[in-house]
Amino acid sequence: MATSTAKVSNEQLKAQKSPSGVNIIWRELVRDKLALFSLIFLILISVFVYGVAIFLDQEEIVRVDLFEIHKPPSEDFWLGTDYGGRDVFGQLIIGTRNSLSIGFLVTLMSGIIGIVFGLVSGYYGGHIDNILMRILDFFLVLPFMMIIIVFVAIVPEYSIMTFSLIMTAFLWMGIARLIRSKVLQEKELDYVQASKTLGSSNLKIMFTQVLPNISSLVIVTMTLGLAANIGLESGLSFLGFGFPESTPSLGTLLSYARNPQTLEYRWWIWVPASVLILLLMLAVNNVGQALKRATDARQRRG
């Protein structure tokens, strides 16, 4: 008896409280069928490529086989072979895994730098903000595409880690600026003042109080950033300044299409990778847009 009444009052209590951030995001996702579908698609693709890639041997797939050059799709090679006789389907799976991994890595690293930069700049304001914003403005006008290419070309020990570090170095500015302008508004709110009066340190207020309050913005920006970073990585690999051929990514598969012969007659090499990139980017963007709506009460559907 006693437990059931407690349960009821608990539920009543829940009904009176406004829904939490995670709840709102979830409701928006369920309400937006396209975004929900995209999310399921993304999860399935990730599970599939990460799962299957365990059983595939990257060395085996990227080994050149001169007897199997440019074979169209067949039973042995589901998506044919490239100019080195390498299985395109296997490269597609490993490539998707590599592209996703670097996308996540770069998004995470640039996100962390951007968040810290934005928090410090927005929270302290004044001179610190002024100086940091000048630095940011400068980075923003750099033709970052070219500078990344130059860096990739001259780094002596080139690896996936250095590649992601180079990308990160020029991609943290967008998120930093967004976070900073949000923190500028946030720090005027009463809870920050109250916490200051209680004697909390600035660091504590910034990272344990302001940051959770702007977490929805962080999630949205990083989701949209993920799509952009996957696109950028494949673009750089396409030009030959990303992953080397021995480490397939979606971009390296596309780079074979720079050969007019391949572009015109051997669609099986580059079309599947293009479609996959497009689907991935659309799906991530769909999820990101739904999250964005969830954070803005005026645009919410659910």
Binding site: F138, P143, M145, M146, I147, I149, V150, S234, L239, E264
Partner: protein, 320 residues
């Protein structure tokens, strides 16, 4: 107004100096130098060392930097070791092509963005608006280079409407009507591919701005006073919504630079982006340095233009 412009111009100076330092450091970090490509059994290694001294490769860095900047001021961007000609001259040949490509792209971008944005904003939530919004949504997610590849595949190879590489059919006399026509024909596909992707941001912005403006009080007032619908849109709403678009013009330059590297590579168009990629692969570093610097300055000037136009349009920005 003048105060803002002058202040904004002053900010540009340290930006350009910083940019030049970054590019100089990058150039110095490049492994090997242009002369290491010359090593072959017929050339005495001592002669190469001598050449290195002559070109100032062993000077202290600040002297090299000063020499470099001094040269830049006089329009001397160094010598391309691959083409055996002055970089200034080499860039002179390519920059014209890039200029036409950028111009064509900008024209297509705005030709598409303004009508689409206005239609979408004016008839919002109609089927037309939904179609346009879907297009912007997909265009936003599509990487430029994939779209360009597909365009080249379809219209260049499969349908064969447009040439698949170059900037002009070889063998035509410059100045003739056919020459100009061939130039335009080579421009359409690359610039249209870039514009179809680049325009989506502007379309979305214009649409949302018009939808916002439509609900403002001054529009209600105009309607209440009996202004015809066409006047409400042309005089009241568009004047409000088009000006910020004009201001983004400068920022378009930065995205044009990034895009042109892909577009010129895919369509084999001999512009600055193509020159940049070729030179970096062949370690022709004086060309890489010069092109990066020029693009960097173009981006900085673009941002300056945007800020000045914005301050003209929106007085609130001037008070800072």
């Amino acid at each position: 107004m003048w105060k803002f412009t002058v202040r904004r111009l002053l900010i540009m100076i340290p930006q350009i100096i910083l940019l030049s330092i970054i590019i100089f450091v990058l150039a110095k970090m490049m492994p090997g130098d242009a002369l290491s490509g010359l090593i072959d059994p017929n050339i005495d290694p001592e002669r190469i060392e001598e050449l290195r001294h002559m070109h100032g490769f062993y000077d202290p860095w600040h002297k090299q930097y000063a020499d470099w900047v001094g040269g830049l001021m006089q329009g001397d961007l160094g010598k391309s070791f691959r083409f055996k000609m002055d970089v200034t001259e080499l860039i002179g040949q390519r920059v014209v092509n890039s200029f036409w490509l950028s111009l064509a792209t900008l024209i297509f971008t705005y030709l598409l963005a303004i009508p689409l944005g206005i239609l979408s904003g004016r008839y919002n939530d109609s089927l037309l608006d939904q179609t346009i919004t879907t297009y912007t949504y997909i265009g936003f997610a599509t990487p430029l280079f994939i779209f360009a590849l597909v365009m080249l595949w379809v219209f260049g190879f499969m349908v064969g409407w447009f040439p698949t590489s170059g900037s002009v059919t070889p063998g035509l006399e410059p100045g003739t009507f056919e020459y100009v026509l061939s130039k335009i024909n080579h421009l359409i596909l690359p610039s249209l591919s870039m514009a179809l992707i680049a325009t989506v941001n502007t379309v979305q912005y214009l649409r949302n701005d018009i939808v916002d403006t439509k609900q403002k009080d001054f529009i209600l007032t105009a309607r209440a006073k009996g202004a015809p619908e066409s006047r409400v849109y042309n005089r009241h709403i568009l004047r409000n919504s088009l000006l910020p678009i004009a201001a983004f013009f400068g920022f378009e330059i930065t995205s044009l630079i990034g895009g042109s590297i892909f577009i010129e590579n895919i369509f084999g168009y001999p512009g600055m982006g193509q020159l940049f990629l070729e030179s970096i692969l062949l370690r022709d570093f004086s060309v890489v340095t010069a092109v990066t610097l020029l693009f960097g300055i173009a981006a900085i000037v673009g941002a300056l233009l945007s800020d000045i136009i914005l301050s003209l349009v929106d007085p609130r920005i001037r008070i800072k």
